[in-house]
């Protein structure tokens, strides 16, 4: 792989209490669907914060399109990288269209109102995310699945090259989970959008993503195609849990099942 869109070189991060990330080197190519997996507290969300410019690495460097993140202004970065958090709540009543138009903020001047081009971008994003018919509703009145699609529309309205998603479907039911991942995959294949997804669900990762990294205690312990890294030994090492890994005949992808107290390992 040649120089990637997102390059992390020996990135470490520590806060006042502990070392959260240690010596992370990753290279994510344009158009890739990259998954970051690992147990709670392994530093996944911190890595998303580093990539979105909210935090800066203590050591090492992160580059986007060959330029260090430090050289980007906040709005310049927001024009190229958009973030979809686990959950979004708003303190004041805003309409769905207003929330999606907030995605145009990095494209506007300091004082500006959105112009025709911005409204068009927002409408395109809402159509892609399937929320065009919600435009006039209040955001706080929507269901969890609708809210998450609106937040994705807001991220798309930024017209980014990279979409960072931090466990975007944790609070959704299975139908909405599938809807959102199908949407993300079509954006990636039709529009060349690069996805960087933090996930808990190993089966979703196997089904939808093209490359995975396992994080444990702030270090990358496995990196590669889902077929390579979704191995019962790796998963036992990362999660300290025994699983059975097999190939699903219908999807052709790997499935991971926990074994509970039944011992005996698994096979791939």
């Amino acid at each position: 792989m040649s120089a990637g869109l997102l390059q992390l070189e020996r990135v470490s991060f520590s806060n006042r209490e502990r070392q959260v990330l240690e010596d992370i080197s990753l290279d994510v190519a344009a158009g890739e669907r990259f998954g970051l997996l690992g147990p709670t507290g392994s530093g996944k969300s911190t890595l998303v914060r580093l990539l979105s410019g909210v935090l800066r690495p203590s050591r090492g460097s992160i580059a986007l399109a060959g330029r260090s993140l430090r050289e980007y202004s906040p709005s310049e970065l927001a024009r190229r990288v958009a973030v979809v958090p686990q959950e979004t709540s708003l303190d004041f009543p805003f309409s769905v269209l207003e929330v999606v138009l907030m995605g145009r903020a990095p494209h506007l001047g300091g004082f500006g109102f959105e112009g025709d081009r911005d409204v068009e971008a927002a409408e395109r994003a809402m159509a892609l995310a399937g929320v065009a018919d919600l435009a006039g509703r209040f955001f706080h009145e929507l269901s969890g699945g609708e809210k998450q699609r609106v937040v994705i529309a807001r991220a798309l309205a930024q017209e980014p090259e990279v979409l960072l998603l931090d466990e975007p479907t944790t609070f959704l039911d299975i139908r909405h989970v599938v809807d959102i991942f199908e949407l993300l995959c079509s954006l990636s294949s039709d529009h060349g959008l690069t996805l960087f997804v933090v996930l808990h669900d190993l089966n979703l990762a196997a089904l939808y993503l093209t490359r995975l990294a396992f994080l444990k205690a702030g270090r990358v312990v496995a990196l590669g195609h889902p077929d390579e890294v979704l191995d019962y030994r790796t998963i036992r090492e990362v999660y300290e849990t025994d699983v059975y890994v097999h190939r699903n005949d219908l999807t052709g992808k790997l499935n991971v099942l926990p074994l509970g107290s039944v011992k005996g390992g698994g096979a791939t």
């Binding site: 973030v83 958090p85 303190d91 009543p93 907030m102 990095p106 004082f111 409204v119």
Partner: protein, 338 residues
Amino acid sequence: MSHPSRLTRERARAVLAGLAVLLVASLAGAAMVGGVPIDFSRAFDFAHRDSPDFVIFFRSRLPRVILGAAVGGGLAASGAALQALLRNPLASPDVIGISGGASVGAIAVLALGVPGPAWIVVPGAAFVASAATLAMIVRLSTVHGRLNPYSLLLVGVIANTIAASLIMLVSSLVDSLRAQGVLIWLSGSLAQRPYSLVAVVSLLCLAPAFVLWTQGRSLNLLALGEEAATQLGADVARVRRTSFLASALAVGAAVSVSGVIGFVGLIVPHCLRLALGSDQRLLIPAAFLGGAVFLVWADAAARTLFAPTEIPVGALTALCGGPFFVFLLRRQEEGREI
């Protein structure tokens, strides 16, 4: 209540023009109202500038209504901005204790007789005290790097109590003449202020409100949380610093001349948000104009309701605003949108 699904420049202009017309009409209308009836034609008879009608209108009522407009506007615009900054619909300068802090600053100067021209020293002391109080309140109600909305209200209550105690302490220690002045000032009055003071305070309320207006779009993004606002390109630290300082300046100026006039910064932004939507690019200037109209008429009511006796306008706004606050708090507690 519903509102159009987005704010356009045209709608913002139309709403603000309407409110501006309403404000001008209110200034003229409220200046005609008072304990003593005045005659319109005689009040505007510039050939007889010593007629009682002329003197009452231009020397007594007009500076008073202009001052009321500036103070009401400054408090309401600060309230709207503080609610967005602190992510709390119940925040307003008086509820979270900034007004109390500002009044301690002003009273210290009044009671101790600090040398220098009063129109600089009193607002200056009030501004320094309001900025210091705001910084302290934000710091004390931040838990694990996040502003806790309930801590904020509680710290505000405590700040107000401490401010009240300090004021009592200061006024009991100075001589009775000065204590009298403090007491009169405290009750929140807009009466008997010269034009020079009116001009200074108006500028000190208007300019920060304008600065807050320029932060409108970033304040909108803050409704998503600080992290999301950063990820949408907002320079959150700068927005917070600019907006806190501007709010403290407007509140300091308002309090330094009129004492604590409570709940204007709560009622006005809340009602306007229901009518116009949450977009701060309209809400902040609309709150300025709406707060101006509100306080002009509240003051007109304060001087006519029990005429010829005047009641303090601060007492009137607190009597309306207190129950309103409790109503909002109940709704929020019950999880309803406010």
